[in-house]
Amino acid sequence: MNKRIWRTVVPSLMIALACPAGEPVQAADPLPPEGTYRPLPTVPPSVVRRNDEAAKPAVMMRQQALLKTRYDLSDQPMSGVKMSGGRKFVQQGVRVRLKPGTTWDELAQLTPEEIRERNLLPDGFLPLPHVKQLTGGQVFPQEEIDSIRNFEQRDLKRFDVDFDLPAHLTPEFPAPIFLTTRPELGDVSGGKLLTIRSYYEMMVGILTPVQIEGLRLLLTPFPQEEFNQTEDRKVADPSLGVACLDCHANFHTNAAFHQTPDVRPQAARFRLDTTSLRGMFNQQIHGSKRSLRSIEDFTQFEQRTAYFNGDHVSATRKGANLPDRTNQVAMMAQMQNIIDFPPAPKLDPMGRLNPAKAAAQELAGERVFMGKGQCAVCHAPQTSFMDHEMHDLHAERFYKIGIVANDMVELPDGPIKTFTLRGIKDSPPYLHDGRLMTLADTVEFFSLMLGLKLTGEEKEQLVAYMLTL
């Protein structure tokens, strides 16, 4: 190494790493610990609750104001198109609001830099804040809260926040359940919700003993950051906790949301929309950011992540459940691995549209999907419309980072896992944080992000195609 570099670069790098013998390093003060770790409460729970309840109307109104600025949240069902259980209409139309004086076609002609400098990116394409960003935690839709209260007498209602999206923009509830082991049966839910009280009668004779035991564990509540027995909780009475299927209701999603466990500080954590567990048997990486390599790893570690924000210290205090890897985790994983996608009768075994069954618009959509739209580069039909990779869209090319929206810092998302598109009409809202309300929104988003310059007709064809998946 040349002497000059040795003298200049290396010491500055080494200061942070190690103390050279003899001379003490003059290190700057580290960042405060609660940037990473959850601090203990400093005031009594009754006072916390009083303050949270008093603040709640303003918190909810602020979030509603942000949502209304970003989206058209109105109920616009797509005529004749329902989700797989036939219980809810799919919503139509682009819901992200354009900035005044702009059109989608005009935006498509601008470079990312021009859109960023002129602040023209629709706000609905920005990361979506949690309803109460600085507190975060799991928030359940009202249907889930009501059902669990009725069937289990367990309280999932928080005293500080409510769910923030209207019910017509969330998945049908309860969702149908399809099993890879019993495809001939079709939906085995009978229109009912799997709960710790209902599962046995619903599934005995259909599942194996280990699958039933896995299911029981997935429905058993365990302490969680906001739902537990300590003074640091957001539910009125000491709580038994939450179950895996409180969010992944009937192994699908009920649009319950949370924040990523993988980012700190709190203001930087992005929102997480619950992922469907359908098609788990084909998925090779797990978690939007963590890229865990098996559903067993994911199931095991969710007790520290979904449950405790990736803070194992807090988990230990509030009552971490540590499922036995070779016994319990294996059974939970086996149960998750038999959840199938909903039927897609227009698709052939290779995941391509059968021309004899598909409409002309749908076939045209598939051509866009495979070609100009570049969708199939990641959402490959032959591998269940995913690629087992994480990708970075660099959406931040289009906006200035560091702007704060409802206490969340709008930052780059970084690489995010490719999600499957099988059964995609069943799982709004879209993207990892649920920032897009309809399939039409996703088409506009990717058209802009990838510079596709899709025509109006091509966009409609893509939506028609995705409805067949």
């Binding site: 010491p11 405060p32 400093t42 303050n51 104001a65 600085l134 500080p265 203001a267 200035k400 560091g402």
Partner: protein
Amino acid sequence: MKVMLSLVVLAALTGTATAANTGNPGGMVADTPGLERGQPTSDHANPQDKLFVRQATLGGRAEVDLGKLAQGRADSSPVRDLGAKMAADHGKANDQLARIGRSVNAAVPAGLDPADAAFREELQREKGAAFDQRYLIKQIGDHQRTLNLLQWELSFGQNQALKDYATEMLPTIMEHLRMAQAALAALTGSAPPQ
């Protein structure tokens, strides 16, 4: 119309007199006026606010001091310009923080932080491209640190004026970081920012 109405109500609810929005109960201070009534004042400061004023003030001082040094001593004109910009921007921000932070009564030691003073001495001994490189590497580290400090204040602070300050500063500091990274890339051939 509905949106307008809710925005008006929202403004009324979140005006200066309203509750501080502290996320985690660990960020609440028991002696906050109004806490027992569920109406905590937003101008009270918790320990995080005080620590933030201390750390941000010391960091800002170093930015101005080192910026001036770089403005006069850097080898290349982009780095001299960057130094001048840092001195000017952080000088302004420091004044603003001093005004807001006065009511918080944070204990802030006089002069440069010892770690920054030690670095300054080392930097002064450098010349040419080596000076520029060491200054830029320090700038990158300091701005990364400041970004995290601002977000930490936003996450756990209680004083609304300080949180507003953190909100206002974040995009600027992000921009500074990119500028320093781009300057280092130009100087050394390291990977430029995305």
